[in-house]
Amino acid sequence: MKICKTGIVESVSMLSPMIYDLAVTTNLKDYAVPGQFVMIYPKDKSTLLPRPISICEITETGLRFVFRIAGKGTAEFSGYKAGDSIKLMGPLGNGYDINLLKGKKVLTLGGGIGVPPMLELTKALKSQNIDVTAVLGYRDSSLFLKDDFDKYNDTVVATEDGSIGTKGNVMDAIAANNLKADVICACGPMPMLRAIKAYAEKENITAFISLEERMACGVGACLGCVAKTTKEDHHSHVNNARVCTEGPIFDSKEVDI
C-alpha cells in the first residue's frame, strides 16, 4: 500500500561530508520492506518533483534515510530540523522478497551511496537467521553506517584509497576475503552493478541488483524511469520495465545494463 502523507523530522545529522542521515516519524514504516524507496517532496517551489530516496532503516517510529547531497532537493533535506514536517509518498518499488533468500548464504553489497539500503536488508535477513555478510565499499576511511552494520554481522570493508580494509571495491573485497554466496544483493554505482552481474553469471549464482534512474511520478504512470529487460515487460510489452514499480530490485540476469 502506498501513502502520500506528512511525516515529522526526528533528527538530521551529517555522517560524512555530503552524506546525511534523516530520521522521520511516519506510518509509511508499517508498509515498508527492505529495498523500497520513498518519494520526498522538496519545499522549494523551483524544484517541484519529489526525490526518490532509498529506505536505510525501518524503525519503531518511522523511516531512516541516508542520502548524498546531489542537488537542490537533497541539499534542502540536509537542512531540515527536528520537528519540521515533510511530505512523503511511499513505500515504493518492489523491495526484496526475503522468502527467496531463506536458507541461502547471502552477501549484501553496498557501494558508496548504495550502502544505506543494504542496512535494513542485512538487519531483516539476520532477524530471519539467514547467513548474511555485508560487504561495503567506500571512497576513504569515512565509513558511514558501518557501526550500524556491525550490530548484525561481521562487516567486510573495501576502500578506494586502501585506508581501511581491502584496497579497491566490493568485488576486490570479495576476492581478498574469499567470500562465497548463493545470492548477492547489491546497490551501488552502475560499474559496480555491471561487475556483479558478470560475476554472478560466471559463478552461476543469483544477484539481485538495485537500479537507479531519473524519475518523475514514482508510481509507474509516467514511464520515465525504465530499465532495459531481457524479457518482455508486463506493462508495455517492450522490454522496458519501470524501475519505480517492477524495480528497483531486479535479478541481474533479467536486465540489460
Binding site: 500500500m1 502506498k2 502520500c4 517532496y41 517551489k45 523551483s46 524544484t47 517541484l48 518533483l49 519529489p50 509518498m89 534512474e213 531519473r214 524519475m215 518523475a216 511520478c217 514514482g218 508510481v219 509507474g220 504512470a221 509516467c222 514511464l223 520515465g224 524511469c225 525504465v226 530499465a227 506493462h235 508495455s236 510489452h237 517492450v238 522490454n239 522496458n240 514499480t245
Partner: protein, 299 residues
C-alpha cells in the same frame, strides 16, 4: 449547482480530466484518488503496435516544471483493449483514449480498432515533440493537420479531439484547421519543446536532447493559447498546461476552456485531480456560480 459539461454530446460530471501520459490508464493513481470522482480519464497515448519509447534519461526537472522525452512507450492497441479498457470500465467516469502514430495509416488503425470499444472520445496526439516521425509533424502544419483530421473523422465512431502543439507561430490557425476538417473539439497545449544541458559533463541531460516542458512554468503560455484558440473556433476546447489547483483550472475555463486536464501536477501531488474537482465546487459556492458553464470564456 451544476458542474457538468458537455462536449460533442458526451456529458462529463465535472470538467476535470487528466493530461495524456501523466496518469497512465488510471491504475497507478487509483491508490491515491477515487477515479469515480473524475470527469474523465484521458489515457496515455496508444499506437497500433507496442512502442519501446526513447532511451533514458527520459525526464528531468526544470525551474517550475519538468522536461520529458518518454517517446510514447505503450503496449499497442490490442493489449490496451484487453487490459486498460476493462479496467477503466469499472469506474463511473468517461474514457478519452489518446491515439498516436507515425503515419496516417497507423493513427487510422488505432481509431478503427476502437470503433466498437466502449470508449467515449478519442484524443488524437499530433503534437508529441519526442518522437522522430509523425506526431508533431502533423501538428505544426495546418494543411497536414487538416488532412489527418479529415481522414480520422471518416473512420472514427467516437467524437474526435485534436490535441494541438504550442510549438507553432499561430495557434488560432491550427485550431481553425482542425475545426474545418471536422474535429469535434481541440485540446491544448501539449508540451513546449525545451532543453537542459549538464554543464559539468557538457552533455544534454535527456538522451533525446530535447524534451517537452510541462508544469506551472508553462501556464501563462497555455492560458494565452487556450484564449486565442477558443476565440478562433466554435468547437469546445479542453485546456491544459501547468494546472495544479482549482484556481488554475478556473483560469483556463475563463480563458475559454470547457474542460481542463491535470498533467505534470499529478507527479508533484498525486491528489491534484481530486483537489481540483473539489476546489472548483468550493469556488462556485464561494462566488455564487450556479452553473460552471457560466464562466467558460467569461473574461
Amino acid at each position: 449547482m451544476n458542474t457538468a459539461v458537455k462536449i460533442a454530446g458526451v456529458e462529463f460530471k465535472n470538467p476535470v480530466t487528466t493530461a495524456s501520459g501523466t496518469f497512465g490508464s488510471g491504475m497507478e493513481y487509483g491508490e491515491f484518488v477515487d477515479l469515480n470522482k473524475l470527469g474523465a480519464i484521458t489515457t496515455k497515448g496508444v499506437a497500433s503496435v507496442a512502442w519501446p519509447g526513447n532511451p533514458t534519461p527520459r525526464v528531468t526537472e526544470v525551474y517550475g516544471g519538468m522536461l520529458n522525452a518518454i517517446g510514447l512507450q505503450n503496449p499497442g492497441i490490442e493489449v490496451f483493449c484487453e487490459r486498460d479498457i476493462p479496467f477503466l470500465k469499472q469506474y463511473d467516469t468517461k474514457i478519452i483514449v489518446n491515439v498516436c502514430g507515425k503515419t496516417v495509416e497507423e493513427y487510422l488503425a488505432v481509431v478503427e480498432r476502437l470503433q466498437n470499444e466502449p470508449v467515449d472520445m478519442l484524443e488524437i496526439n499530433v503534437s508529441c515533440p519526442n518522437v522522430k516521425e509523425g506526431a508533431i509533424a502533423f501538428g505544426q502544419d495546418a494543411k497536414a493537420l487538416e488532412n489527418i483530421t479529415k481522414q480520422i473523422k471518416k473512420v472514427a465512431k467516437q467524437p474526435v479531439i485534436m490535441k494541438l502543439s504550442p510549438n507553432v507561430t499561430r495557434i488560432a490557425d491550427m485550431a481553425k484547421a482542425a475545426e474545418a476538417a471536422g474535429a469535434d473539439a481541440i485540446s491544448l497545449i501539449n508540451t513546449i519543446t525545451g532543453m537542459k544541458i549538464d554543464i559539468k559533463r557538457r552533455k544534454f541531460v535527456l538522451a533525446n536532447k530535447t524534451g517537452g516542458m510541462s508544469g506551472p512554468a508553462i501556464k501563462p503560455v497555455a492560458v494565452r493559447m487556450v484564449y486565442e484558440a477558443s476565440h478562433a473556433v466554435n468547437i469546445p476546447v479542453i485546456g491544459m498546461g501547468g494546472i495544479a489547483s482549482a484556481e488554475d483550472a478556473i483560469e483556463f475555463m475563463m480563458a475559454g476552456a470547457t474542460m481542463v486536464a491535470v498533467g505534470a501536477a499529478n507527479f508533484i501531488n498525486p491528489n491534484t485531480t481530486i483537489e481540483v474537482v473539489d476546489g472548483i465546487t468550493e469556488f462556485m459556492l464561494r462566488h455564487g456560480i450556479q452553473d460552471i458553464n457560466e464562466i467558460v470564456g467569461c473574461v
